[in-house]
Subunit: 350 residues, 2 copies
DNA sequence: CTGAAAGCGCTTACAG
DNA sequence: CTGAAAGCGCTTACAG
């Protein structure tokens, strides 16, 4: 069934059928009704490729989850408490607004090509990038294609520096700096003076922000940043587990530990438990993200809530807006975080 | 950059460019190299819509997660321990095989139209359906379009009855019946004679299978199926929590409870805990699916492992195969389950 | 208000 | 081995 068939059946031309489908104003109600009746009767749907080829939008957006180096281990997208909700919310929001979403995971630099291809092949109207390693080169390339692009968790200063801010581009962030400050101040308020950190990925905006905020806050209160209490991390459980082991082996423990995300906090907690160090009795622990599990494990984890709902929804709104925007625009939003106090922190033992 | 431009640059015709792109054999190595060089130089990618329109495949498959009535509550796709891994694995497997995946969630009967549209609009080469409510009418309609279709968790006898088995259709199941039998026999072996169940969704093949297997196994061993120990359920936490409350309120408890999935088992465990009933001391509890959380909570949940990896991968392989199949074919696979014994079961108290 | 025609960027018989 | 031409199913100026 093609538009031509509908046209014949309705006794009009293809042009008119097209006008009805696209809801153009210049067609009399009678004609419209007649055509619509035939369309419904035959359950006609215009071929999306022909439409797109003839200049219409594809009504699909791309969602690219970048997760370098994570292919091998078990911790993948769906188990990643950060990606999973984003995927879900993006799909839902887009669907509700009549868009399809093409989803693709990027595990290696070669996979990046897939993102470019999706744009180049005109498969999508615009795209959302989330995850690590959104190098400025990639962003520049993508922006070069003039395709609407939304970046989740990205340092805007890079974009300003590259003068990319007059493109079809938007950046969605969370206020990680402020959230971390709140967390550290909470620990300090509890009386802690020996505070450690498990770092996140440093090739991530939020990872850097959380670390910087940690350091600055300690300094602000005149507390030392002790090297042996700074654990390397990459937002993944495995590394955090190993680092926590290493920390316990060192003999000396901080009285409180800030973990750059919940997944790592939970992994560290396991490592500690195995060495008879219990939270919060021996060590206060605070996470970031406020994933589902945080409220389920025992002790319940105190954490900084990431406004992931808002971020995902905003991302979809932004791409869709950008798709129909005439002029290049750059915009950026940061959503606030919030400290959720549970049972994993306590004043230090005397 | 269009194929015509490439053709000019390379000094050949569009036909030849097309032949090179599609890797046809009848083009001399020299010509191929020449064209390829230009293509790379300009980073040319053929417009996917034009290709599709001209008869090529779209190289994208659809993944439709059907989850009726779940929109309102918080338990959505990404938190659903069943959907989430499927989505992840399907995307990964498809991507690795060079396919894009269009993802769509279906929350209401109206949303079903979206599935049909995706096919009708020729957006996808084939589709995978997973979740509840895959009514035979929908399946029939979809099959009517002659589009490759893979159903995860579906009663094949319905398909046979409808004579749909000479279509581009495949069904992927798990051996839920056998898995349930194993679980119940394990409980019986432990000495339990008063065994209850939390039912799954009855509009789901696996839900029915698990229930039937439960009933049949009790009967087989001459044990009663006591109505008050049969709790209604829908695979979701909320309902299970409420039903568990109801059970405890009734005063009489079974000595063991089989839950049709882990999510409900965990919810029930919470409800019990609040009433001072602890697992496994007062009540043995066994789940189904073996989700991640099962090994994390305390007590660790004994569960029947669902071969979700195998299922998701097989689903992708199947759609892709069906896409290039000439003749209509029907096939079906069932992957075995496995009982994973942990700490939530114990012989009944004397 | 509405139709004929050109065009979107490919692929694929058809000739040669 | 390779090009000219038709065709895929739409949309959109252009006339009228």
């Amino acid at each position: 069934m093609r538009s031509e068939d509908i046209a014949k059946l309705a006794g009009v031309s293809r042009s008119t059928v097209s006008r009805v489908i696209n809801n153009y104003p210049n067609v009399p109600e009678a004609t419209r009704a007649k055509v619509l009746r035939v369309i419904e009767q035959y359950q006609y749907e215009p071929n999306s490729f022909a439409r797109a080829l003839a200049g219409k939008r594809t009504d699909t957006i791309g969602l690219f989850a970048i997760s370098m180096n994570e292919k091998e281990n078990a911790s993948r997208i769906y188990q990643n408490s950060y990606f999973a909700p984003i995927v879900d919310l993006v799909v839902d929001t887009a669907n509700a607004r009549g868009f399809y979403v093409l989803i693709h995971t990027v595990y290696s630099p070669e996979d990046f090509q897939k993102i470019k291809q999706a744009f180049l092949q005109k498969r999508i109207d615009g795209g959302i990038l989330v995850g690590t390693q959104k190098d400025i080169e990639l962003v520049r390339e993508l922006v070069g294609q003039n395709a609407p692009l939304v970046l989740i968790d990205y340092d805007i200063s890079e974009i300003m520096a590259e003068r990319l801010n007059k493109s079809h581009l938007a950046v969605i962030n969370s206020m990680d700096y402020e959230g971390t400050v709140e967390a550290i101040e909470y620990l300090i308020g509890l009386g802690h003076r020996e505070i450690g950190i498990i770092k996140g990925r440093m090739n991530t905006f939020s990872g850097r922000e959380r670390y910087t905020a940690f350091v600055n806050t300690l300094r602000k209160y005149g507390l030392p940043v002790r090297e042996e209490f700074v654990l390397e991390g990459d937002f993944l459980k495995e590394t955090a587990y190993r680092e926590a082991q290493r920390l316990t082996a060192g003999g000396k423990l901080p009285t409180a530990l800030f973990s750059s995300n919940d997944d790592m906090a939970i992994a560290a907690m396991e490592a500690f438990a195995e060495h008879g160090i219990s939270v919060p009795e021996h060590l206060s622990l605070i996470g970031f993200d406020d994933v589902q599990l945080a409220a389920v494990i025992s002790p319940k984890l105190t954490s900084v809530k990431l406004p992931i709902d808002d971020m995902a929804k905003a991302a979809v709104s932004k791409v869709i807006d950008l798709c129909s925007a005439e002029e290049p625009t750059f915009s950026t939003v940061s959503f606030p975080t919030r400290l959720v106090v549970r049972d994993s922190c306590r004043p230090p033992q005397a």
